[in-house]
């Protein structure tokens, strides 16, 4: 074993900075926080501005949800894996009920059916393939929709996927009104982070608002927009920028909703967030505290929110996979633990810890188990949840919280300035179309790589303390035969359905789009008539045009 010394000059000469670039003092003390007025700027948990926690009792009253992202090969295999994880005490909601985060395969995210030539190689490889209602029904047969919480991470076709989900639930006898969960529905993120641009951004936004409107009226237990900051971080932004962009896009969606005529107090409380949890422990704790304070203030000052529920920053944290290494992969378990602990001390509502083999492939069941046990030990052995916001009052943490808040306000202001009418909505759209936001993200990625290669950023096992030979953990492989079966089943499905009903449903959908009405009822009906995801998406492609 060799000890490599990284090439960076002695850090003591360069100063001590956090991953997002905040310079840390040698020591923080009373003088750093004496100007902070407790009741206005921090507040008790459950009190505006919610810095210490969105609820008074936090984990003393309700534990955080434990949701590992999962999905691969087929609905049956995914449901089976979910059941195994639930048996181990993982995949649980606030009351121990089943909860899951579902990932979909690339063809589904791109609005293609499994038998499209473009879907070659990708059927079921990184998520669940959903071509039509029966795929969703097959998953739901293994998951109790009346009790469980379903979080769906879908990129290019959120309206269609949600419609298929609702149609499937209804066919199984569940009312949409009881369905609990959240769906990504974040077209700005699809454009900027996933780089999936199926329709023009205005069309995607319109469909997103259709989902929002439909859910306000029909699905009170569903979070119709889960603003997904997470992927901005692997794409190139740091934690503070990620939070800034997430909040900016959230503001933009609210502005869009209000422009659409939706009632603010009806939809604002249902917006939730999905953020990364990084490795820079102190900064991450402060980040989540700052996020709560920022959101509460934005809702109150910018939107004049009166309902306290509109001001609560509810967040699912997935710890950051780009902090992981493919080298010496078992040490990623330590990283996940540090990241997860920061998120818990930061007061998140739900947590997922990607598995140690994430840098090699999608996880094995045993790797998932370790992530689940990590959370269980945090919850039941470490004791950190027994009192609320235990790091509150730390001179360092309060200073960092305040500094992050300041930087995020600046970031949002920059986005706002990209537009020309004072709305953040215009700013986000201008920033996307003009390429500025993507340029910043890409430059962040290149700089991050440069810092690792120069040794400026130490990554244990990668540029320091490397091993000549390292152990390859078991690699999870999806079975190509299952993908072949999926395609065959799909072709059979398409030939067996009532084509007149399919055509009729597509015609109704076309008509609805052309009349600029809410597409959800027509999409749900189409799903029930066995229209496929791609067929529905093609209606949108034909009428709206392609993205980018």
């Amino acid at each position: 074993m060799r000890h490599d010394r990284s090439n960076s000059p002695d850090k003591r000469e360069k100063g001590f900075i956090t991953r997002s670039g905040i310079t840390l003092k040698t020591i923080y003390g009373l003088e750093d926080t004496q100007d902070i007025e407790y009741s206005n700027e921090i507040g008790n948990p459950g009190q505006f501005p919610y810095t210490r926690g969105i609820y008074p009792g936090m984990y003393r009253a309700v534990p955080w949800m434990k949701r590992q992202p999962m999905g691969f090969s087929s609905s049956e295999l995914t449901a089976e894996r979910y059941k195994e994880l639930f048996k181990k005490g993982g995949q649980v909601g606030y009351k121990g009920e089943p909860a899951t985060t579902l990932l979909f395969d690339m063809p589904t995210n791109y609005g293609y059916d499994s038998d499209n030539p473009k879907a070659r190689y990708q059927v079921g490889t990184v998520g669940l393939p959903v071509d039509h209602i029966e795929d969703m029904i097959a998953f739901m047969r293994g998951f109790p929709m009346d009790k469980g919480f379903t979080n769906m991470v879908i990129h290019g076709s959120p309206a269609i996927l949600l419609a298929i989900f609702i149609a499937a639930a209804e066919e199984l006898g569940y009312s949409p009104a009881i369905l609990k969960g959240s769906g990504k529905n974040d077209p700005f993120q699809s454009y900027l982070a996933e780089r999936i641009k199926l329709l023009p951004i205005e069309a995607e936004l319109k469909l997103g608002m259709d989902v929002l409107e439909y859910c306000i009226d029909n699905m009170p237990a569903w979070n119709p927009i889960s603003v997904s900051g997470f992927s901005y971080h692997p794409s190139g932004l740091n934690s503070i920028q990620e939070l800034g962009l997430a909040l900016a896009t959230a503001i933009a969606y609210i502005e869009a909703g209000m422009q659409r005529g939706l009632e603010f107090n009806r939809f604002a409380p249902r917006i939730s967030f999905f953020l990364s949890g990084g490795i820079d422990f102190l900064e991450e704790v402060a980040k989540f505290r700052a996020a709560r304070k920022l959101w509460a203030r934005i809702m109150k000052d910018r939107f004049k929110a009166s309902n306290p529920k509109s001001m609560l920053f509810r967040v699912y944290c997935l710890t950051l996979t780009t902090d992981y290494t493919a080298q010496q992969p078992f040490i990623n378990i330590i990283r996940g633990t540090i990241q997860g602990l920061a998120a818990v001390l930061g007061g998140v509502q739900a947590l997922g810890i990607p598995c140690y083999d994430e840098a090699i492939g999608i996880p094995t069941e045993s790797a998932q188990t370790i992530s689940i046990r990590t959370q269980q030990i945090m919850e039941e052995e470490s004791g950190v949840g027994k009192t609320v916001d235990p790091l509150g009052g730390s001179w360092c943490i309060e200073s960092l919280t305040k500094e992050i808040e300041r930087q995020v306000y600046d970031y949002i202001g920059n986005i706002e300035n990209m537009g020309d009418d004072g709305t953040v909505l215009k700013g986000v759209i201008a920033g996307i179309k003009g390429g500025q936001i993507i340029k910043d993200i890409n430059e962040g990625a290149i700089k991050r790589q440069r810092d690792i290669e120069s040794g400026e950023t130490t990554v244990v096992g990668l540029n320091k303390y490397t091993e000549e030979e390292y152990v390859s953990p078991p690699v999870f492989r999806t079975d190509p035969e299952v993908a072949r079966m999926k395609i065959k089943d799909l072709q059979e499905f398409k030939s067996k359905r009532n084509l007149r009903e399919v055509e009729g449903a597509l015609e109704r959908l076309r008509d609805t789009v052309k009349r600029e009405q809410n597409v959800m009822p027509a999409l749900i009906e189409a799903a029930k008539k066995r229209v496929t995801l791609e067929e529905a998406m093609n209606v949108f492609r034909d009428i709206f045009g392609e993205g980018d």
């Binding site: 690339m106 063809p107 995210n109 791109y110 293609y112 473009k118 879907a119 070659r120 190689y121 990708q122 490889t125 990184v126 990129h155 982070a193 996933e194 780089r195 999936i196 692997p234 794409s235 190139g236 290494t325 493919a326 080298q327 840098a359 090699i360 492939g361 999608i362 890409n442 990625a445 290149i446 790589q449 290669e453 990668l462 540029n463 390292y470 390859s472 690699v475 492989r477 999806t478 190509p480």
Partner: protein
């Protein structure tokens, strides 16, 4: 035909996948090292990659694979390269590729695999050695 004055590399990602990060980073590093990079981008088929490589007269095809499709996609790519009679073009690959698969890929004809965590200087050195000017 006049001698090429710089090395030409085509960078692409096969199949539906928006994870562009690695491909962008490598493209940037190769350009900084004085190479000409044709960045074909995301969502390509093996056939599209090979046709573009021929048209652009590149020395090297670099494939980024971030969602576990490397074995199937690269096998198809190399087969199509052979069919087109352009085996002179060197194929390299990088991304999320397990150690266990590297030997298989090399046996298929991938000249070198640069998995997650590779230092871009390794790729540059390799290309300089493979394509002397």
């Amino acid at each position: 035909m006049e001698a090429k004055r710089s090395r030409r590399v085509l960078i692409a990602s096969i199949g539906l996948d928006g994870h562009e990060l690695g491909a962008l980073i490598v493209s940037s590093a190769l350009r900084n090292a004085g190479m000409e990079v044709v960045y074909l981008g995301l969502n390509q088929t093996p056939e599209q990659v090979v046709e573009a490589a021929i048209q652009e007269d590149v020395d090297i095809i670099g494939i980024s694979s971030m969602s576990g499709i490397h074995l199937a996609a690269l096998s198809d790519l190399l087969e199509y390269l052979k069919k087109r009679g352009t085996q002179g073009i060197i194929v390299i690959a990088g991304g999320i590729i397990p150690l266990d698969d590297i030997a298989t890929l090399e046996k298929l004809g991938v000249r070198k695999v640069f998995p997650e965590g590779t230092h871009t200087s390794q790729i540059i050195e390799f290309i300089k050695k493979e394509i002397p000017l």
